[in-house]
Symmetry: C2
Subunit: 440 residues, 2 copies
């Protein structure tokens, strides 16, 4: 007889946590899903918010709404700060909660390679707020350039540096190039947005390094065609308000730029540390929890870690990639395992099924690696569109996103080009610029 | 022969400024439109952003985009701080600019009746940031109530006070009532969102006081049906973090509430003061500039003030209402006047043509006053929908808004229910609440 009051607590409503909650819908358990935010965020499209194509609400689904019909789930807005594994309690920033099984799925964030001071100068793209802040900086740079009279300063405003040549960096670079070439074409009177200089900086020898060589090469060729400078084997060594220092092979360049975006490095959520303290579990260098083949923590068979926070290395030796697929499959696995255990049954170890990787590079082009087949170009781009559209949680969002993509495609427009947040005025560096040029 | 280098500077890209710029498209002038924001905001629908129906970008159109094909307009992101009327210069926070004609259209904001300290406790609805902040507070109140164990505290979280019974207050109250009754119906497990207590506080004897009696009565009856308490002849005399003091007639009540929204009072933009200093023009009590019959400032025939910042009292003795229609008509008038003057021709004084007023009260109901006909109910609501949809500047926005309205109508959902901004955790007052209710 299953235990009717078995309480499963899930920390984090991302891909892993949401899938675990959903897959426990018929299990004889009570589920409590805790998240610091009241929505599930579809991160793969976050760069489209940062570049003005989509609105935040297009890619964010209220967790309560997604789970409102699932009566065995309670959603609570709360932040876990520690785990008392011995007493099976989660410590919250404002209370605590007992569990029978715990699924920790609080993800990861970016990592500034020992330079936390760069975060303010070079924002990364993880949250909705990051996306609107990046959108703000990108648009503001063009506005400031339009009002600038000094050519060197204007050029610095039109120089954009993206750090990290993974999918996020590549997608941002492609979108930014299109904004400069197409979207803003008719918008300015003194600058030509096409003069924008976009540099994608990658530490390794090629961008999209987890993909096969041939797709990296395709992506790089497409970016070059869009006017993006791809600097491989290059490292950012310093970031200042008006310049970035980059080591390219054995020479060092200082590039005048006012806009730097960060898309490199992975740092696990601080709950990894908390778990290590509570259970003695080992962490890897990125702070991820090294889990057992069933995604649990050694010595605590009811405590699971999934998704970006987990280092699962029981398949091929290397950790599984930190992508949505990993988190979703682990969430589903752990839900199944909990249900079967309550029925007194076991489960084989978790096995990741690689469904492939893809990245888009602006309009009409993407690269797709399905393992058995690899290709890039227009057809890959259609597949990318379809997969991402169908993965949005809400039907409503799919229709809205489809309409906006269609509209943007036909008109080359991006309607969500809003500079929001704190007032950007006076524009940085304007005071010295003196009297207005348009002063007739 | 028109002067080809006549420079018209417009301050503010709201309804007045945008219409003036547009109507100067064939005039022999250069136009510079300055705004602190990079977008035109369709304020009449701002309450729908605050209540989660629409996204900010649905009702905000980038100014550059709206005016991109109009070659005689330059849009600049800038903030005017003063006017040097004698030398015909606008002083910016970061520079200055000469003009031949100046149109000041920087609008108005809310006014806290001598209690500026209330602004933090009771945000008003003027900007996109206000709308997302109000959305945040409304949604957070339900989240906090769900986690609250003490009934009195829970009730305070579910008590919402709206100050001001004008169209904004009425529309907010109606939308909030529907959120509580319909949208969130299935979303919570411990609270019943229908227990929400919504109080609309109005100082005068009836809400929508500028409308005919019969429409005020209709609106009030509809609000009552939605469960909103309308307190007329009532004044807020104090606002604290957990309570509001309200004088109703001759008795005073202290209402425990964690969410107060402000929709009362009008305070002209600070540029009114700056203009008074520069030109000696008189201001009214709300800080609005008392303009001549041609919307200019006495002694400065090339300096115009339009829209919410202007007090135009040459028609019927009372100032014209601070609505979009007034601003749009004045913008068009001044554009025409400037053009005709350059051709050596005159213009009769400005005449406001009242196209009517309307307000919506939740789903299926609005009140419409067209002067020659007054009615409320479903048909009025359809007219309200149509007029507002058609007034959106961008075709693209019309389609998106239409879809979202249709979707919400059918499903009773509101998809933009995102709590964004600074972390709300730990929830206020949670620390004392001790251990979680859902704890085993």
């Amino acid at each position: 007889m299953p235990h009717p009051s078995h309480h499963v607590v899930i920390l984090g409503g991302g891909f892993g946590g949401l899938h675990a909650a959903h897959d426990l819908r018929r299990a004889p358990v009570r589920v409590t899903l805790l998240d610091r935010r009241n929505f599930h965020l579809f991160q793969p499209l976050l760069y489209q918010v940062a570049t003005g194509t989509l609105s935040p609400s297009n890619i964010a689904a209220p967790l309560r709404d997604v789970l409102r019909r699932q009566k065995n789930v309670t959603v609570l807005l709360a932040e876990a700060t520690a785990i008392d594994a011995g007493n099976r309690r989660v410590i919250l920033s404002d209370g605590s909660m007992a569990y029978d099984s715990l699924i920790v799925a609080t993800g990861a964030t970016h990592h500034y390679f020992g330079h936390p001071e760069w975060e303010k100068l070079a924002p990364a793209l993880k949250t909705i707020e990051d996306a609107t802040e990046i959108r703000r900086r990108l648009l503001l740079a063009f506005e400031a350039a339009e009002r600038e009279t000094d050519p060197a300063r204007m050029h610095a405003w039109l120089t954009f540096i993206l750090v990290g040549g993974g999918p996020t960096g590549v997608e941002l670079a492609g979108a930014l190039a299109e904004i400069a070439r197409d979207t803003l074409r008719h918008d300015f009177r003194t600058i030509n947005p096409r003069d924008a200089h976009i540099i994608l900086v990658e530490g390794l020898a090629r961008i999209l390094s987890v993909y096969p060589d041939i797709l990296s090469a395709k992506a790089q060729a497409k970016l070059a065609k869009l006017g993006v400078d791809v600097w491989t084997n290059s490292m950012v060594t310093d970031i200042q308000r008006e310049s970035v220092t980059i080591r390219r092979g054995d020479k060092t360049e200082v590039v005048a730029s006012r806009t730097v975006l960060w898309a490199a490095g992975v740092q696990a959520s601080p709950l990894g540390e908390a778990l290590a303290k509570a259970t003695g579990v080992a962490l890897d260098r990125a702070g991820r929890v090294i889990v057992l083949p069933d995604c649990s923590v050694p010595g605590f068979p009811n405590l699971f870690v999934i998704g970006d926070l987990a280092n699962f290395s029981h398949q091929g030796g290397k950790p599984l990639p930190g992508v949505a697929q990993t988190a979703m499959q682990q969430g589903a696995y752990v839900a199944r395992l909990i249900e079967r255990r309550l029925r007194g049954k076991g489960m084989p170890p978790f096995r990741y099924k690689d469904l492939g990787n893809m990245a888009t590079i602006g309009r009409n082009c993407a690269v797709v690696d399905l393992g058995w087949i690899r290709f890039g170009g227009f057809f890959a781009w259609l597949i990318w569109l379809f997969v991402h559209l169908m993965s949005l949680v809400q039907f409503h969002s799919r229709v809205l996103v489809l309409f906006q993509w269609g509209w943007n495609y036909v008109t080359h427009n991006r309607s969500s080009r809003l500079i929001t947040g704190p007032s950007p005025l006076p524009l940085p560096g304007r005071a010295e610029a003196g009297v207005e040029r348009s002063d007739g």
